[in-house]
Chain length 359, copies 2
Amino acid sequence: MIHGGDVYTDGILKGKELIDYSSNINPLGVPQGFKENILKALDALTRYPDIKYRSLKEDLANYNNINKEYFILGNGAAEIIDLTISQEQSILIIAPSFGEYECSARKNNCRIIYSYLRETYIENIGYTLDYDYEDIMNKTKEVDAIVIGNPNNPNGEIIKKDKFIEILSYCNDNKKRVIIDEAFIEFIGDMSKSLINYTEKYSCLVIIRALTKFYAMPGIRFGYGICSDKKYLEEIRKKQLPWNINTFAEFAVSEVLRDSDYINKSIKWIKEERKFFLAELKKIELFEKVYETSGNFVLCKLKNLSDEKLYELTLQRGLLVRKCGSYEGLNNRYIRLAIKDRELNLKVLQIFKSIEGEV
Amino acid sequence: MIHGGDVYTDGILKGKELIDYSSNINPLGVPQGFKENILKALDALTRYPDIKYRSLKEDLANYNNINKEYFILGNGAAEIIDLTISQEQSILIIAPSFGEYECSARKNNCRIIYSYLRETYIENIGYTLDYDYEDIMNKTKEVDAIVIGNPNNPNGEIIKKDKFIEILSYCNDNKKRVIIDEAFIEFIGDMSKSLINYTEKYSCLVIIRALTKFYAMPGIRFGYGICSDKKYLEEIRKKQLPWNINTFAEFAVSEVLRDSDYINKSIKWIKEERKFFLAELKKIELFEKVYETSGNFVLCKLKNLSDEKLYELTLQRGLLVRKCGSYEGLNNRYIRLAIKDRELNLKVLQIFKSIEGEV
């Protein structure tokens, strides 16, 4: 299991509907504005998208308040991850983190070094898995680039700017690339946690964003990168296919980014439910540890059973969880859960309680 | 100008609506069945597509009556073109042909050799630009692979199977890849002209198809390849990104391929209009030669003016044509025109007549 979100193998293709807690999608669903204006996109479908995606880039520039020339567009954030990693000979990857970093590195014959997250117990807060900034700094010297999630998947920790700035500055001075994956940044509920505003000063920095998770449309395939090093962007753009962004994605960007009602509702939801779901999960006997998170997902360490066993038990009850045995730095004692709306979160808690009685 | 279909630079972005004869899209528009069922796709948008695209491949297998394991899916036919060419060290390209073959070859450091089309005048028919089968056979010996359009873009000539089979057989015996781009095959109006049924016998053969042109949805980004060499497919699949096909494309395939009403209407249209438009174009004094075509586009040689000059003159009248100066094997005396419905074709003929009086 390299990816979550496979509701097909054990679900749809067997005629079963599953509650999917293995992929981290906003439960508020596709923004209404996009749905209502879908016919406009249908009209545009018969012509090729603008090969330069000019108005799309302007929408992104306005939303992020960043120079439109700093953008590179991808068929999903996965394309930007792959393009950036394909440029490097060696890379430092945080472990555990999103499996696509390793897939891209291997595919592109890029050597991997890991920096492992450090577990800490903080009184009155709980368990955290934090970046080891000192270790990252030391290991960065041995590689061409580093890739790091903000927040990091699967644990949801965010970058502390005051600790990271030294690494960023070192990389900029020594021509090492810093790739920060902010695919889940909106779920923090505080955009000041983003490092996007450092792109102007640090040309080594590439920020990667996705539209798919926060706006609940992973099927639309759209992600983007931001970097002030125009020569670098030119180089990686050469590797891209013409018309890599489809009309619906082009159209969605113009609709959803300005949907402040959806954004506000989503932030209200995630702040409430993250607090509630974490507190309730900590009461479940199946879990030895429930890690603090700033994302819309939560990493849990299992007490007495394997991820495989729990997967089977929840699947019998119609729930899909993310086994974490495939993550470098974790083992088969971890699962990741999405955070959804109250009704589903309660249902999922109920499922765990029913399993407690059985194991 | 490497690609047609740019209605943005001189049109939309300047607030002008243009008649686009530079890209070759079915004028019947997006099939009704797709439009009517778009809400189903919206529902599916909130989950990731099946990473293995299992039911999508089954739909394609049924439509083409080909083993479902022979398929590889792309974010547009452009992705399949790029993947196949990226596997080769040297390639034979027909000139003129679709510019993406050369772009991909250059991007992947693949050496290019050209085989030029041969102009022939056939009594009672007219000018044709045909493949030079003998030259192709000879030059094939010097390369790893050949890529050839069926029908070929920009002229619309199709492969004569009895002449090509020797080349195909030679390539199969000598482990050379044969890539046939059938992106416009449906417009011939006779699917027996496809070489798809040779894929089983000749494992060197890769057929490339698109959904975007015949079903009038270039914005949806979907193409596919067919090859019986499973080991080869495995190898090129490794280069692909996860979830490279978006939900709308996945959904469109299941809707449009079985839309026999749309298919029949389209074939009736193209057969009538191709005949009509060609006959009328031959009467226009601006053109020295109008080449026979089996596609939904037609290559014309200009008599006394450059493609740049004609482009300016038609643009002033709201019409976008495809300049052909960028094609290897052509020069600035050629343009390519789409074939559309009677109303538009008449309008375009009228525009040419008005220009005749001016130059």
